[in-house]
């Protein structure tokens, strides 16, 4: 069965962002794309249940919940959540050699944050959801989003300082 054109029109433009969020959470390109495929399947099947919900947070909520399930399964199967073993080539393609060092650093740092902190940093900072939309995705109050955001940023700042700090200031870093 072909996907109706109206759904394609709304969902297709959001696929790159869904892939980005999935990859940031799972840190593995194949797993992330597999997850997005699950999301699309569900979204198409349940489109009629959306009932006026804005598509972007609705899709991110499906993605987030499925991602958490997968991370838990990984945990149960004994696969470490911190995926240092995943070669960086399977993550985002780096723009340049120096950038890749810093980008790998920030991804490693956020992988050490609790999941609820990592999600909020990604949804607000990278996906640019509104605070209200992020609250919908994560199923918490907007006040909770604000306090998680504040704690997550501070925690990340401390971690970055402990590991040398330079990782968050790529433009100041010279690698000769």
């Amino acid at each position: 069965m072909r996907t109706p054109a109206d759904i394609i029109g709304v969902v297709q433009p959001l696929i790159p962002a869904l892939r980005r969020y999935a990859r940031a959470l799972l840190r593995d390109r194949d797993d992330a794309d597999d997850l997005v495929q699950d999301v699309l399947e569900r979204a198409v099947a349940r489109w009629h249940l959306r009932q006026g919900a804005s598509p972007r947070p609705w899709l991110f909520a499906i993605l987030h919940n499925l991602a958490i399930d997968r991370l838990r399964q990984r945990g149960r199967r004994g696969i470490p959540l911190q995926l240092d073993a995943v070669p960086e080539e399977r993550l985002a393609a780096p723009a340049s050699q120096e950038a890749s060092v810093d980008q790998a650093d920030i991804l490693t740092l956020i992988s050490r944050l609790p999941e609820e902190h990592r999600s909020v940093l990604l949804l607000i900072g990278v996906e640019e959801l509104s605070y209200a939309e992020a609250a919908t995705v994560l199923g918490v109050a907007q006040g909770t989003i604000m306090s998680r955001l504040s704690r997550a940023r501070e925690r990340l700042r401390r971690m970055a300082e402990e590991t040398g700090g330079a990782s968050l200031r790529p433009s100041l870093r010279i690698v000769s």
Binding site: M1, A24, D33, L40, E41, E89, A92, S167
Partner: protein, 258 residues
């Protein structure tokens, strides 16, 4: 200067550029008097920028076929067919979606003789014919690996070399050039201590220049295909699927590093 006290929530919103302009100006003025807080916020901004820089390249990647809603059946589960949703869009669908932008008929009406599905069929045939050949499975043996790599690189018009698969217990026995309808393809053959053969098939891709790793199988031969940056790969054999998958991952990692 504002008399309304600045809140932590406002500072966070300021980092995100989400305060109304008037309030934003007031917070700016407040920050000018609180350099420690200004530094803290600046660090938060750097975090966010670094995170975006690390993840934004994903947006520039082509959307994989398996995720493309404009192609027939978007989300058919892989375990139902062992393959990706194939490009079975009807002419009606084509007319309906013709205006969707940037897409040509050629891009998405590709029959399975092209793309990594086509590559899989070629690789399976090559494996079936050559791996079982007890007289001369390869044209050039592993002790001429340099010549073999040079030959493939020249015919495929890009640097190719036999990956080291010792980690999977596989030793190169050699390779040969094979013909496909898409031009020359390189076939490396490996063997493990148990005598199992594994073929690595590689050729340039016209369609699906980048494609995720996908499980394939036909006539008792199993394996995995993928494409990176215009080069398509197939790892095939009659060994267990997990073993072939591990081998395919080894191959992919080495080619991406090269």
């Amino acid at each position: 200067m504002s008399k309304t006290p600045v809140t932590e929530a406002e500072l966070q919103a300021h980092v995100d550029g989400r305060l109304p302009p008037e309030r934003s100006a007031e917070v700016e003025a407040w920050l000018a008097d609180h350099p420690d807080e200004a530094r803290r916020l600046s660090s938060y901004r750097s975090q966010r920028d670094a995170l975006r820089a690390a993840l934004d390249p994903v947006l520039d990647e082509p959307v994989p076929l398996a995720l493309d809603l404009r192609i027939g059946e978007p989300a058919r589960r892989r375990w139902t067919g062992g393959g990706r949703p194939l490009v079975a869009a009807s002419a009606a669908g084509l007319l309906l979606l013709g205006g969707a932008g940037g897409w040509t008929l050629r891009d998405w009406s590709a029959p399975p003789s092209v793309g990594t599905a086509g590559l899989a069929r070629e690789a399976i045939s090559s494996f079936a014919v050559y791996a079982s050949d007890s007289t001369r499975p390869v044209e050039l043996a592993a002790d001429h690996q340099r010549a073999l790599d040079g030959w493939f690189s020249e015919r495929l018009s890009r640097p190719v070399s036999a990956p080291n698969l010792e980690a999977a217990g596989l030793h190169l026995i050699g390779g040969r050039l094979v013909a496909s309808e898409h031009g020359p393809a390189g076939l490396y053959l490996y063997r493990n201590a148990a005598g199992e053969s594994v073929a690595l098939y590689v050729r340039p891709m016209d369609v699906e220049k980048t494609d995720r790793m996908t499980s394939r199988g036909e006539k008792g031969v199993r394996g995995w295909t993928w494409a990176d940056d215009g080069l398509g790969f197939g790892v095939f054999g009659s060994a267990p699927d997990g073993y072939l998958h591990d081998t395919a991952n080894l191959v992919r990692a080495q080619f991406r590093k090269a």
